[in-house]
Symmetry: C2
Subunit: 350 residues, 2 copies
DNA sequence: CTGTTAGCGCGTTCAC
DNA sequence: GTGAACGCGCTAACAG
């Protein structure tokens, strides 16, 4: 139970050789005779030698560590993302340094600076609340960085990125409702200023336009939140009634949590889903499949996004050229959406 | 955009002083004149100097890093746990190295050895599938380690731990059902060989005994799973009918996922919850409050557990004596449980 | 107050 | 094949 771990010099002394011989033996250098090598390896084993990654890093100029910053680890969205990241990182022998920003710009910058301080080999950033100011702050640094689900339009040259095609996702959701016969389709959104929010709305509008369906400002309800004082479920709850009052038969929600809120509001108001109203969410969080009725939604495949992002980082390490990725979401049909015709039998007033 | 970061020697050269003067100035040593200190700090700022944590660690023999191994990061249970850990770690200026074991013993050991290799200051382990063999493997190491929610009976002297009082939790759940008038109370469990499972069952039995209520082997249904081939929801689904057939009016489920599975089975079988059957879960995962009906459950406060574990580690760093913690869970009453009297009005056959 | 020196543990020339 | 010597970037001991 000695306090300080033993070093290659300790085992060198024990073996009666120099520390560099030990170093070489342990790294299978061809310069070492097989006999001596095995002897030293055996000795190292006996002495419970554990190489010191810190010392190696100082020498190699590589830490085999990547920093990951997410908004919140407790958020299942980011949990799955990190799972995907971790999986390919582990396979590549890399470690993850994890940090949460809680959507706070100061904490985000602090996390990134901390990663530089610790000399990570690369950085992955998945924080949708990132500010524009950002680019300025990070330009001086030279660590390979991949942005996940972050608007990168004006920083394409500097940062690499992988993101979900939110516009396509919005279209998929709305096209689904259109196919089911809906003609008055609403959008229930959260105005958080994110690119995702803007693009999902665009997808909604695009699908309606392409189908030659009417659009109505009353069918679009967006709750603008300044801070995080209100959660998405409450937003969905709060905004639902006014949308229903506008006469929509189907609603595309900004994300699953909003949709769940809307669903809860429906229950309180006596509105049957999907008979009276079809709901489509976005994200495909685990909750979506267990709630009643199970939620039709657009899946983001967060773990795949994590895998792609980490793989991209690995390619950057190898000096390969990488292209920004735009992942395609896909629709997951469940019971919260159905044909509009059924609705007529159970029309309710709001 | 220089490739290698600048060091204190670079700025020393620029300032015409020695590197140790720079080192002292940056660390606010009282040995340095205020004028020189400010000058150097300003210069460092201009040169975009970022201290090298690796070099510092080699010198300090401290990495200000703790390793965390969980079963799965995507699991909301562990997500919340890590959130709690991260929160107090950040406050203490410590970083988190995260690793997932996926319930695999090999991966778990590999993760821990990797943490030793990287010279973390401490380790937190939250993997319920840990084997007994474990103790042997880790004894030679000397890194402060705290086990989270792991049976530590035979290793109390070596490891520190924080865990939930599962026995109490089981009692709380069953006492709740008893208060509601239930007299035939079942237990729906998963036989994963964990201490948690055993203790929750004990709590169940204890509560019944204390209330002088009868016990019936048919009321206890435990699904033994060898591997992870089947998830908890499916287990709940599969096992429910036989329990209901035994005549119970209330069921305490091993965890929320099992309870959710039971709930889904009830829907398929036309059993109304809570009118026909009361269900109580364990864990209080987010899903529990959103499902219909919202699930009465025992809350584990995972984030608090993370905070406590990390705090314990901090105290170990300071050489303080620490006591193993047994956290008390508490009941969260929701709509999945109600008085047994109601049931009579809507009896159904199974 | 400041400069010089010596490690922290390891990998890597450069000699022998 | 092997050992001696240097450096990775930084802190701390010892001089002045």
């Amino acid at each position: 139970m000695s306090k300080r771990k033993i070093s290659i010099e300790d085992i060198a002394r024990q073996a009666g050789v120099s520390h560099s011989t030990v170093s070489r033996a342990l790294r299978d250098s061809p310069l070492i005779s097989a006999k001596v090598r095995e002897e030293i390896k055996k000795l190292a084993q006996e002495m419970n030698y554990v190489p010191n990654a810190i010392a190696q890093s100082l020498q190699n100029q590589r830490t085999y560590t990547v920093g990951v910053v997410v908004t919140s680890i407790a958020d299942p969205f980011f949990g799955e993302l990190v799972e995907g990241i971790e999986q390919v990182a582990k396979q590549a022998g890399l470690n993850l340094l994890l940090s949460a920003s809680h959507g706070d710009f100061e904490q985000e910058i602090a996390a990134i600076e901390n990663f530089h301080y610790r000399r990570v080999d690369g950085i992955l950033i998945a924080d949708s609340r990132i500010s524009k100011h950002y680019t300025q702050q990070l330009t001086p640094f030279t660590v390979p960085t991949v942005l996940i689900n972050i608007d990168t339009e004006d920083k394409g040259e500097i940062f690499h990125s992988v993101a979900i095609d939110d516009r396509l996702g919005g279209s998929l959701a709305v096209e689904h409702l259109i196919k089911l016969g809906h003609r008055s389709i609403g959008y229930l959104g959260v105005g958080d200023g994110s690119k995702a929010e803007q693009q999902r709305l665009e997808g909604y509008q695009m699908a309606l336009t392409q189908a030659g369906l009417p659009q109505n400002p009353d069918w679009v309800a967006i709750f603008h939140r300044d801070k995080e004082t209100i959660n998405d479920i409450d937003i969905g709850k709060k905004m639902l009634s006014q949308l229903v009052a506008s006469g929509v038969t189907g609603i595309f929600c900004y994300n699953d949590m909003v949709a769940v809120g809307a669903l809860l509001a429906c229950k309180e108001l006596g509105i049957s889903v999907p008979q009276d109203l079809s709901l489509v969410g976005f994200d495909n969080i685990a909750l979506a499949s267990y709630i009643t009725p199970p939620l039709t939604t657009v899946s983001q495949r967060m773990s795949e996004m994590g895998e792609v992002a980490m793989t991209m980082l690995l390619e950057l390490f190898q000096g390969k050229p990488v292209e920004n990725q735009l992942l395609s979401p896909f629709l997951v049909k469940r019971a919260s959406s159905t044909t509009v015709s059924k609705r007529k039998h159970s029309r309710i007033s709001v």
